[in-house]
């Protein structure tokens, strides 16, 4: 129906409608932001700046369920820097709400993250978590996708993580996969971290201080072997700060020091193997 009028117009104006459309598309494509180059996050800690790169997949693990909140805190701190003002999509499995508590938005504001920037997606099962995570990771408007599945996640295999990685590469979004006590297995993640809570620097009157985490770099694709750092999240400056004092203080305790092969920790025998491979 619209063919005839456009033909007559073409004869009048000398430019065809498809040509004009082409011009417009080329112009709009030129204004689109390029997906790949994003500013370095600037975590305030050299090792994090070198490893927690935007536009790829990172895996965070907590050994115990009780460290789930620490994991979320570290992930959100990192997410805030990595998002660079873009949206944050947080995908959680329903069961987590009962098991680890539901997301408390004022708490997000308290660690310096604007709750309005977060879109929460709740799904029933692991497949839903992956689908939603993948969908979000493919979107260029998304800065960070935080994915929290629950429990024994066989569905989260190498193929699934590779899909997430490819989606992240394609869109420039950073995907952070938070898992609690995951079974050992291959993953396409760029880096793999173990996060646990660390004692905070006390405030006056022995009150708990700013969030502190012990993070251990378990694996880094094509990079140097890992190490352990104690970091504190500084909300006012929006960055992590290393806690040298804490590392020293905690090393004197009996439970904390890790043997080189980490055989003393439960379930880490295979982690050491994984690190080399």
């Amino acid at each position: 129906m619209s063919e005839d009028p456009s033909a007559s117009r073409r004869s009048r104006m000398g430019v065809s409608l498809p040509q004009l459309r082409g011009l417009l598309e080329a112009a709009s494509a030129a204004t689109l932001p390029d997906a790949t180059p994003r500013p370095a996050p600037g975590f305030g800690l050299a090792v994090l700046d070198d490893t927690l790169l935007p536009g790829t997949l990172h895996e965070l693990q907590a050994v115990r369920e009780a460290d789930g909140a620490a994991l979320a805190g570290f992930a959100l701190g990192a997410a805030q820097r990595l998002a660079g003002g873009r949206a944050i999509v947080w995908v959680r499995q329903d069961f987590l709400d009962a098991e680890g508590g539901r997301v408390h938005p004022p708490g997000l504001a308290e660690i310096g993250l604007d709750p309005a920037a977060v879109t929460l997606v709740r799904t029933r099962d692991v497949m839903g978590v992956l689908q939603a995570g993948l969908e979000a990771a493919r979107c260029r408007a998304v800065g960070v996708v935080l994915i929290e599945p629950w429990g024994e996640t066989r569905a989260l295999d190498l193929t699934a993580s590779r899909r997430l990685l490819l989606a992240a590469h394609g869109s420039g979004a950073t995907v952070i996969l938070g898992r609690i006590a995951p079974p050992p297995g291959p993953s396409a993640a760029e880096t793999r971290w173990r996060v646990s809570a660390a004692p905070s620097r006390p405030e006056p009157a022995n009150a708990p201080g700013a969030p502190a985490f012990r993070v251990e770099l378990l694996r880094r694709r094509g990079g140097a072997p890992g190490g352990t750092w104690c970091v504190e999240w500084n909300r006012d400056r929006n960055r992590f700060e290393e806690r040298g004092d804490l590392a020293g203080a905690t090393l004197s305790r009996a439970v904390v020091p890790l043997p080189a092969d980490r055989s003393a920790l439960p379930g880490t025998g295979r982690a050491a193997v994984r690190r080399t491979g």
Partner: protein, 491 residues
């Protein structure tokens, strides 16, 4: 009307419990021929006709069926109203020519319904009330414009559907048809029988017109396609939906509107109606993104579309629209980013449902649980600023919250102090640091006055995990020791 059986079968009656007795609610043609009629007791009916087939009335399923039939009739016009319990009113203004005139439309509607095994009567007339009267008390058919009043005069008094006492009084007065009644002065009639009777009479005679209230409000924007032959390929149907989206988008653009909800209705030849709806978070008319949502919807259907013997019409309606200005992207790409994000939310909503894609909204209350709510991301809500954290202070609200709070066993040094150690989920935590109490009084205007006050403590155990615990009530307030609960986890 219930389907009547083959010639050899016994007459069928439907019974319901009326005034603690089983009475006939409906009868089929053969039962009616034997003199049975509704409101007769079942025992009486059995006495007269021993071999009765009896079915129990189920008004709820009847209503559901009627609604389904209404959906089916939307094939003919988007304005279909229920005339409960057993009728439908179709406003066919401007639709009849598509189906070969009013007679053709009536014929096709009857054919469609009879294919489901239903016996129906249908009439086409000028006003809804006249149509009802002609269909139920006349011979039905198509009443030509202008003939309304003349034909309606011949209808019996019963067509008024007046209360039994009125009907009896009218019969005693020797008034048999509507014509007899119409000749009387309306003032006398309304003085004797009340105004509603006169109003109804005027409506049936076509002197006064009323609007029908359709089951579904007529959409702001609509496009449909009828096929000469039923379509049996899913791909072809997807193609038709795409075409319709394009045509609707053009209309929306012309009016400066965007759709918030798009509904595709597929009419199958055998009367099955299938609806597919997609919602968007903001006004949308971008063809590609709406089509993408429909594809996603088709892919994620729990029960895929059964093509069966084919679909013969597809309609795309936009029931919810909002003004939408033409969009111009800024050079920095921010606008693109916003539309990309809105598209993502729409896709997630289509896949997981609107209750599962959420955004947080702050609320003005000190109650920890009510301080924030999660609302569907597609709902527009006024933004309220989040409380600014105090510089230099550690977080005072946890990252995760347990609702309901989890009971813990505690050991406190002093009655009003923080616990020394506590047990949660069978694990004992030694407290290394603590701060508190932060006393949070209940909102008596919501919870009532019996809700105890809570003393909250921020505590940290020896391994560095930070918790938010509270004591409910005070020591010494009652004989029982106050209970402790864990309410949240800090990072």
């Amino acid at each position: 009307m219930p389907p009547s059986g083959a010639p050899g079968e016994p007459p069928l009656v439907v019974v319901g419990r009326i005034d603690s007795g089983l009475r006939l609610v409906a009868v089929d043609a053969r039962a009616a021929a034997l003199g049975l009629e509704p409101d007769l007791g079942l025992a009486d009916a059995r006495a007269r006709v021993p071999n009765l087939a009896v079915a129990e009335a189920d008004p709820e399923r009847d209503a559901a069926l009627l609604e389904r039939l209404a959906g089916l009739c939307e094939f003919f016009t988007p304005l279909v109203a229920l005339d409960a319990p057993d009728g439908l009113v179709l406003d066919v203004t401007g639709c009849a020519h598509l189906f070969g005139g009013e007679a053709g439309l009536r014929g096709r509607a009857l054919a469609r319904l009879s294919r489901l095994g239903l016996q129906t009567r249908a009439a086409v007339a000028a006003t809804p009330d006249a149509t009802r009267a002609f269909a139920r008390f006349g011979d039905g058919g198509v009443i030509a414009p202008g003939d309304d009043e003349a034909l309606a005069r011949a209808l019996p008094i019963a067509a008024l559907e007046a209360p039994a006492a009125t009907a009896l009084a009218l019969a005693r007065a020797g008034l048999r048809s509507l014509g007899d009644l119409a000749d009387r002065p309306s003032r006398v009639l309304s003085a004797r029988f009340g105004a509603p009777l006169v109003v109804r009479l005027g409506r049936i005679l076509g002197r006064e017109d009323t609007r029908v209230t359709p089951l579904r409000a007529p959409p702001d924007c609509l496009a449909e396609r009828h096929f000469p032959e039923p379509m049996t390929q899913t791909e072809a149907i997807e193609g038709v939906i795409e075409d319709l989206v394009r045509s609707v988008a053009t209309t929306l653009k012309g009016r400066g509107l965007g759709g918030r909800r798009f509904e595709a209705t597929l009419f199958r030849v055998d009367g099955v109606v299938r609806r597919l709806a997609v919602e968007t978070g903001g006004p949308a008319r971008e063809v590609a993104s709406v089509i993408r949502l429909f594809r996603l919807r088709l892919d994620t259907l729990a029960d895929p579309i059964d093509v069966g013997c084919g679909f013969d019409a597809v309609r795309l309606a936009v029931p919810e629209t909002e003004p939408m200005a033409p969009l111009q992207h800024g050079l920095d790409g921010r606008g693109v980013e916003e539309t990309d994000m809105a598209d993502l939310v729409d896709r997630l909503v289509t896949r997981f449902g609107r209750e599962r894609v959420l955004r947080f909204v702050a609320r003005d209350t000190h109650h920890p649980v009510r301080a924030a709510i999660a609302v569907p991301a597609t709902v527009a809500v006024a933004r309220r600023p989040w409380p600014e954290p105090e510089p230099g202070n550690p977080p005072t609200r946890p990252l995760r919250l347990f609702e309901p709070p989890q009971p813990i066993e505690t050991l406190a040094e002093v009655p009003d102090g923080p616990p020394l150690r506590f047990r949660w989920r069978r694990v004992l935590h030694e407290i290394a640091r603590a701060e508190g109490p932060e006393r949070i009084a209940p909102e008596w205007w919501r919870d009532g006055e019996s809700e105890p006050t809570r003393d909250y403590y921020r505590i940290e155990d020896a391994e560095g995990r930070r918790f938010w615990v509270f004591r409910e009530g005070f020591y010494g307030e009652s004989a029982e020791r106050p209970h402790w609960y864990l309410h949240g986890l800090f990072a």
